[in-house]
């Protein structure tokens, strides 16, 4: 019993009281500040890419193909990170690539979170046959290698941004479902739920107004981690040529292009890889930092 009492006393701050009380511990977590700052900067770059990028990312100039970055001898002024084999500006393409990466990250992660949370809440709160069906479904999903399934789905749905997002959602809702189900079941055993039942709140009222806000902290951290995964999956699909057409600059597409001509020029390969790595690392560290800052048990 002692364990339950301490858990309730330290229950995660429900998001209804979001203001300073929740934000302050977040700002004390260095990972949240640094990674969050980087991602806000990246978001600004994505939004204002047309104003920031020095060149048109699609403009070809075959006379200026394979120019090295400015630090190397023989560089062409104005092309800071060099050019690819078609003479397109690598810096501008990397900057524009953030648009696809962040679009996929936000849309795919939010949709997987919504679907997975609904399924997880249903399984964890109502139990019975709903739980049995949903859990079996998750088991079947987990028997697919995710990369193989995403390649398969994009083959089925056809390539393109919508398919990539749909593939990520179809695969990754299970991550949210499993965690939310377990968390809901844990919350359902706590005193405050019993109190709410005693007062006579309806089952659905308790689910949406009492349990969901308490599951939310875990969920937010998971969404951030999922965004990093979505960025990687998009890069993998672009890399094998199953995402967007090669006209639109994507980091994965640039890396694939750079992999083929790696002995002629490393820069087409390296800069999008650095952008990809930094973005994935930022989402990951933000997620872990949020999990630590929002989880009262880990905070101690």
């Amino acid at each position: 019993m002692a364990e339950i009492v301490t858990t309730t006393a330290d229950a995660p701050v429900p998001l209804r009281s979001l203001p300073m009380k929740t934000i302050k511990p977040l700002l004390r977590e260095p990972r949240v500040v640094i990674a969050g700052g980087f991602l806000i900067l990246l978001l600004l770059i994505a939004i204002f890419a047309p104003y920031i990028a020095p060149k048109d990312p699609l403009e070809q100039d075959l006379m200026l193909g394979n120019m090295p970055p400015v630090t190397s001898p023989g560089a062409e002024p104005g092309y800071y990170l060099g050019t690819d084999d078609l003479g397109r500006d690598v810096l501008s393409r990397v900057l524009y690539g953030s648009r696809i990466a962040l679009t996929v990250a936000f849309v795919a992660a939010s949709l997987s979170a919504i679907i997975g949370t609904l399924m997880g809440l249903a399984a964890g709160w109502y139990g019975g046959w709903a739980d049995r069906i949903i859990s079996r479904l998750v088991d079947i999903w987990m028997a697919f290698p995710p990369v193989l399934l995403s390649v398969l789905l994009v083959a089925v749905l056809g390539s393109g941004l919508h398919s990539v997002i749909a593939a990520i959602v179809i695969i990754d809702w299970t991550r949210f479902c499993r965690v939310v189900r377990a968390e809901t079941m844990a919350q359902a055993r706590l005193d405050y739920v019993m109190a709410a039942e005693t007062i006579g709140f309806s089952r659905s009222h308790i689910l949406w107004r009492e349990i969901l806000p308490n599951v939310a902290p875990v969920l937010i951290a998971l969404v951030s981690l999922e965004m990093g995964i979505a960025v990687i999956v998009e890069a993998i699909l672009s890399f094998v040529g199953l995402s967007l057409s090669s006209d639109i600059p994507t980091w994965g597409g640039m890396i694939a292009q750079g992999r083929q001509m790696i002995h002629q020029g490393w820069w087409v390969f390296v800069f999008p890889l650095i952008a990809l790595f930094a973005t994935v690392l930022a989402f990951n560290q933000l997620g872990n930092g949020l999990r630590k800052a929002l989880d009262p048990v880990m905070r101690r």
Binding site: D139, V147, V151, L152, F239, L273
Partner: protein
Amino acid sequence: MTASDLLNRLFMAVLTLLGVAVIVFCLLRIVPGDPIAMMISPSATPADIAALRAHYGLDLGLPQQFGIWFMDVLKGNFGTSISQRRDVMELIGERLPATLELAFAALVFGVLAGGVIATLGTLARRTALDPALDFINGLFLAVPDFVWALALVLLLGVFWPVFPLSGRIDPELSTYFHTNFYLIESLLTGKFSAFGDLIAHMVMPMLALGLPLAAIVVRTLKEALAEAMVQDYVLLARLKGMSPIRLVLQEALRNAVGPTLTLTGVQFTFMIGGTVIVERIFSYPGLGNMAIDAVINRDLPLIQGIVLTFGAIFILVNILVDLIAGWLNPRGAAHG
């Protein structure tokens, strides 16, 4: 784990695999793009096309197609690959050993490297090394196999080209083998030059797959060791004057290995999935690389065969992990 538990697990596994089969089958029937259109010559008449459709059973209804296909699968007949015009089972049989050798090499590397680092980290508790190790490991945990593979291409393939960038073996050496388990065969028959060449080709994909696993082993094992190090029996052994290294290796490790093993099993299934993209990056001729080609060629029988093979491996590994965990910790639920 009792016999009825095991039967229950096996039954659930069969049910899951059946679910996988149904989903794969349904998914691939709605693929846009006609596989027949990709294999005919431009001069084919409509009658030729109809004959081909009938030959591959594509003119039947969906339930019949599934029925025929499923009975064949039970008999071990996965059909004929449309793009390669060869038996699917045969193709998988050629490629699977390459993937299994790679996955096991990565597993061994990940567990050994992770185990050694976790042990060293435990010995270095309360020194400046410990938080530094945790920080570096945190970064390693965030890097997925795809990024590792690309970084390795750059570091060990281009800037400091010590390992071959693609393939499994030098083509001149590959003709001497009787089985497709090149690595094992070359070792058993003493073909050490071929063995060395195979290892050199394997190092980069193995690192790409094994490093994320090592990072997870380090974290889990280090936590378990830290917990074990403050237990009474460890304190007693320390009072008796046992050296720190023996303390960790003999006393703590034995009790900390359980949770790590379970997690390693789960990670191993993810790693087998990771072989798909890593094999692609290094042009390693395994099952995953063939899977991507099959998808690009819309080769339905081959895709089905590969996905079912992967699904079966996944489920098999999960059962094995459960069995080993049950065997290591017979107290089971009572312990948790």
